[in-house]
Amino acid sequence: MIRHIFLLALFLGLLLGALPGCTVSAITSQARAARLVGASLAGAREAIDAARDADLSTCGELPAPAERLACDDEIMARWAPVVASYNLAREGLDQWTQGLTLALLARMEDADAWSYLLPLASQLFELYQGLQIALEPFEEIDLPEVPNFSAMLGGAR
C-alpha cells in the first residue's frame, strides 16, 4: 500500500512535467515530485509514530517492572527496522532535494539535470521500498490506497 503512495508521489510529480501543455523544466518537475514524496513520507512518519506509541503503551499494563521493561524491549526491537527505514527514506529525500538545489544554483540544462538528479530519485525509490518491506508486518498502519497509475505514466510519456 505504501508503495502505491510512493509511486504516485514520485511519478505523478514527474508526470506533471510530461503532460501536454505543461512545459516545465526538469528541475521544476522533479521538485514537484519531491514535494509529493515529502507529503507521503510525512504521513508515514505520523502513522508510524502513533502506531508505535500505541503498541508500546500496552506494556504498562503488566504488573512487574521487569516484565514491563522486557515487553518494552521486545516492541522497540520490532519497530526498530521501521524507524530506521523511515529515517533512511527521509535522508534519501533530503539528498534528492539538496541535489535539486545544487542543480538550480549550477543552472544545469535539462539533460544534465535529468542525468544528475535521476540517480538521487532512484536511490530514494530503493530506500522507500525498504520502508515498505519493513512495514509489511504492521497492517494497522493504514496508508491510503491509490489507483494504479503506471499505465498513465506510460501513456503520457
Binding site: R35, G38, A39, L41, G43, R68, R90, P147, M152
Partner: protein
C-alpha cells in the same frame, strides 16, 4: 491544463484518503511557479527525522519505577 481521466481518478481517490497530498498536488499544478519556488517548496517538504530516543527513555523510566 486538461487532466487525463486516470489522473483525475487518482486525484479523487487521494482527496478522499490523503488530503495533505491532494493539497500538495493542487499547489504543484498552479501556473507560474518558478524553479526557485518549486525547489524551495521541495526542500521545506522534507519531514523531520523520527527520533524516539528521548520519548523512549522517559517511558522506560516510568515503566521501571512502576508508575
Amino acid at each position: 491544463m486538461n487532466l487525463d481521466p486516470v489522473l483525475e481518478a487518482v486525484l479523487i481517490a487521494l482527496a478522499k484518503t490523503a488530503p495533505t497530498a491532494i493539497i500538495t498536488i493542487a499547489d504543484a499544478l498552479k501556473d507560474g511557479e518558478t524553479p526557485e519556488e518549486a525547489v524551495a517548496k521541495a526542500r521545506s517538504a522534507v519531514p523531520p527525522r523520527l527520533d524516539t530516543r528521548a520519548k523512549d527513555e522517559e517511558r522506560r523510566k516510568r515503566l521501571a519505577e512502576g508508575e
